[in-house]
């Protein structure tokens, strides 16, 4: 049987692939290969509607800026494990912040809700290490200079002062920036990207004075005369002023990568959040609660699975073994795909997995009933199996395609955890089709000698099986 050899190879490859995806060694053991939703592992989730001012030219740029700013703020506040996602629904943009393990949303909400302030400042000193305020000389230095140690995006600490060269008239806070964009670096000896920006007219004069005060000729270096861009009390960038800017059009060079240049540009554009954020939902689940629910659902899954396995075995005997193996195979396959595709397992997702048990059984039952019908009409087992598969193909396709359609619609219109359910449903149904048509076929052909033919029925007699 050539067909069976091909089937055998495919079944084996798929199984090995699924097992590899599931058990691929990672630091935290195999369970970490499947990503768990916040409703399971516990954590906080806050969703904001981004209200972009009407008439904005590129609303999606504004959303990108908001994203960058929030990402920076969360990083700076130590929420490095938080995820910030842009979501687009019904022509509206949303930002979703998820913080695994967080036990409340209050801190994060405060942080996100605050309107950040961008300012230019002078760098007086820098320091590489832990909190400088714990080092007596450094905190004394800050006091003496009437300056503040702020952390930089690069991890260094900078001693900065808003009053440039100590002059109150040289404070430049929350300037309006006309544009700021990454540009390709064209000068020789340099590579990557630079950021160019232009200040609004009213700030041109002040910026000119600032650059005059901090100017150092190119090629020289004065660590006490650097200009810093500070946002949300984080030093975003610190560098030398190598030209006096008279028209408000400046460049920041530093051999940036495109990503860095984009971020810096976004920070410049963002004096404050460029859009209003309206909290649409927020919530958190304590890890304790999630675990309670998972334990219960797993128990339910295992008990349900055992019941189904037993029922199929009793009702279909030899073919029941095939159905049972198919069920186990499909469960491994589903989990493998979840792990490989980095899909997130949510609570409704667990329900989807459990439902997959139902659809897998259905595919097998449809086929077995056909095979039995064929056998009853007197055909030998092997022929019946082939005919049974041929004739149930269209039924299985129709039945499963409709479920997949429902799944896709759920995925498209659903929010949050429902998407998780739709994903497991779709993967599960696709898997169950594969299992019914390929895996079960292979096993049934192999076990054909063991399958007992039911009594052949007379043409129109009334006998039961």
């Amino acid at each position: 049987m050539r067909g069976d050899r091909v089937r055998f190879v495919i079944v084996l490859i798929v199984l090995v692939g699924a097992l590899l995806a599931l058990f691929w060694p990672s630091k935290k053991g195999w369970t970490s290969n499947i990503r768990l939703g916040l409703d399971i592992k516990g954590g906080a989730r806050i969703e904001y509607l981004v209200e972009v001012e009407e008439g904005t030219e590129n609303p999606s740029d504004v959303v990108d800026d908001v994203w960058t700013i929030l990402r920076n703020r969360l990083d700076a506040a130590g929420y490095t494990e938080a995820s910030v996602k842009k979501v687009f629904r019904e022509n509206k943009s949303y930002i979703v912040v998820e913080i695994p393990g967080a036990t409340d949303t209050v801190q994060a909400e405060r942080l996100i809700g605050s309107t950040g302030v961008l300012y230019f400042a002078q760098v007086l000193d820098e320091y590489n290490g832990e909190d400088p305020y714990k080092v007596p000389e450094l905190s004394f230095e800050a006091k003496r200079e009437k300056a503040t140690w702020l952390k930089g995006r690069n991890g260094k600490w900078y001693l900065v002062k808003k009053e440039i060269m100590g002059r109150k008239d040289l404070v430049l806070e929350a300037p309006r920036i006309v544009y700021a964009r990454p540009e390709v670096e064209t000068r020789t000896g340099r590579y990557g990207y630079k950021v160019s920006f232009e200040l609004a007219k009213e700030y041109v004069e002040k910026f000119k004075k600032i650059t005059q005060a901090l100017y150092v000729p190119e090629g020289t270096y004065d660590p006490k005369r650097r200009l810093a861009i500070v946002l949300d009390n984080v030093v975003q960038f610190a560098g030398q002023v190598v030209a006096i800017i008279t028209d408000g059009k400046a460049e920041i060079t530093g051999n940036f990568s495109l990503e860095e240049a984009k971020q810096l540009a976004a920070i410049l554009r963002s004096g404050a959040l460029p859009a209003r954020l309206v909290k649409t939902s927020s919530g958190w689940v304590a890890p304790l609660l999630g675990r309670d629910v998972v334990d219960a659902s797993l128990k339910a899954g295992i008990v349900g699975l055992i019941l189904v396995l037993a029922y199929m075995l009793i009702y279909y005997r030899t073919m029941g073994i095939v159905a049972d193996l198919a069920l186990i195979y499909n469960t491994i396959l589903l989990l493998g795909v979840m792990a490989a595709g980095k899909f997130i397992l949510t609570l409704p997702g667990i329900a989807g997995i459990i439902l997959t048990i139902g659809t897998t059984v259905d595919g097998n039952v449809i086929i077995y009933e056909r095979i039995k019908e064929e056998m009853r009409s007197g055909k030998p087992v092997k022929t019946s199996i082939a005919a049974g598969f041929d004739r149930s193909l269209s039924t299985i396709l129709d039945a499963n395609i409709t479920t997949i359609l429902t799944g896709l619609i759920l995925y498209y219109f659903g929010t949050g955890t429902i998407k998780g359910f739709a994903i497991t449903l779709i993967i599960g149904v696709l898997g169950s089709m594969f299992v019914s048509l390929v895996f079960s076929r292979l096993l049934l052909d192999g076990l054909a000698p063991l399958i007992r033919s039911p009594r052949v029925e007379e043409a129109q007699g009334g006998s039961k099986r």
Partner: protein, 292 residues
């Protein structure tokens, strides 16, 4: 052929039964209404977990009514999953309001001061978001119905599509009726159950339609009643086996699963029963009547 059960002969009785069930459902839906989750109403749901404390709904209500007016009228429901240890009690407190961060912290502190338990979850959904979820849900259900109708019309015939949709509406109405009667919460998971139910009920209908179509080709000249009856009998074993195994799974889920999944399991449990029944007794009479 095996022993034939005359499904069509009894169709009057079953149509009557369906009509009664639908009427009861509609009455309950319109008089008692639904117990909608926060996703659909907007507001905050706070779950408080108590360990080694015996506490009742009334205790909680009298304690928290001190916080503010919303808490005096809050909806308090005990949530329980079989997996919970015996010494753990959980209550869900729903108020029709969302909070600013500082207010939220205050409410949380107040709750933990007034009650001998710990706040383990605090979910809020703004009114506009709830509206959107509601709209999205209705759209999903309508789009699903239309897409499925088109699919069946293309693959089979329009009459099968109409029969399938009637069966679906029948199933959804009765399941919703059960939700209303038993006061189960309609949350997003319950909606997922409805949509899965659509797919499931349809699954049954399609297997049957498929067989009817095949038999119509094979046995030209036989009466439609005869063909439908024969087809039902041929797929009966499959229908029963599949429904039974799915029922096992969702029923066990209903017994064991935690509160978040419970409405889903409840919907599916009712749905498998009603869905199986409708594909046998609702679809076939329509196909027979229409094809005459």
């Amino acid at each position: 052929m095996r022993r034939e059960i005359d499904f069509m002969g009894k169709s009057k009785i079953f149509i009557t039964l369906s009509l009664i069930l639908i009427s009861v459902s509609l009455v309950s839906i319109f008089t008692k209404g639904f117990n909608f989750g926060v996703e659909f109403t907007g507001g905050s749901e706070i779950v408080v977990r108590f360990e080694n404390v015996k506490i009742t709904e009334t205790d909680i209500r009298s304690a928290i009514s001190q916080i503010s007016d919303e808490f005096a009228t809050a909806r308090i429901v005990q949530v329980r999953s079989v997996g919970d240890p015996a010494n753990v009690l959980k209550y869900s407190i729903v108020v029709p309001k969302t909070y600013e961060p500082d207010e939220k912290q205050r409410v949380q502190k107040e709750l933990e001061r007034l009650l001998p338990g710990k706040v383990v979850s605090f979910n809020e959904i703004s009114g506009t978001a709830a509206e959107e979820i509601k709209r999205g849900t209705w759209t999903a259900i309508l789009v699903a119905l239309v897409v499925l109708l088109i699919y069946i019309t293309v693959r089979f015939r329009f009459v099968f599509g109409v029969a399938a949709i009637v069966a679906l509406i029948h199933d959804v109405l009765i399941t919703m009726g059960f939700f209303s009667i038993f006061g189960y919460e309609i949350n997003v998971a319950a909606v997922a159950a409805f949509l899965t139910l659509l797919g499931y009920s349809l699954n049954d209908t399609i297997v049957l339609s498929d067989r009817i179509r095949e038999n119509m080709r094979r046995y030209r000249g036989r009466s439609m009643i005869n063909i439908v009856n024969m087809s039902i009998n041929q797929v009966l074993a499959r229908t029963i086996n599949t429904s039974l195994t799915t029922f096992f799974v969702v029923f066990v889920l209903l017994l064991f699963a935690g509160s978040a999944v419970k409405p889903f399991a409840f919907g599916m449990t009712i749905g498998t029963v009603v869905g199986t029944y409708s594909s046998l007794y609702v679809v076939s009479p329509i196909v027979v009547k229409w094809s005459k």
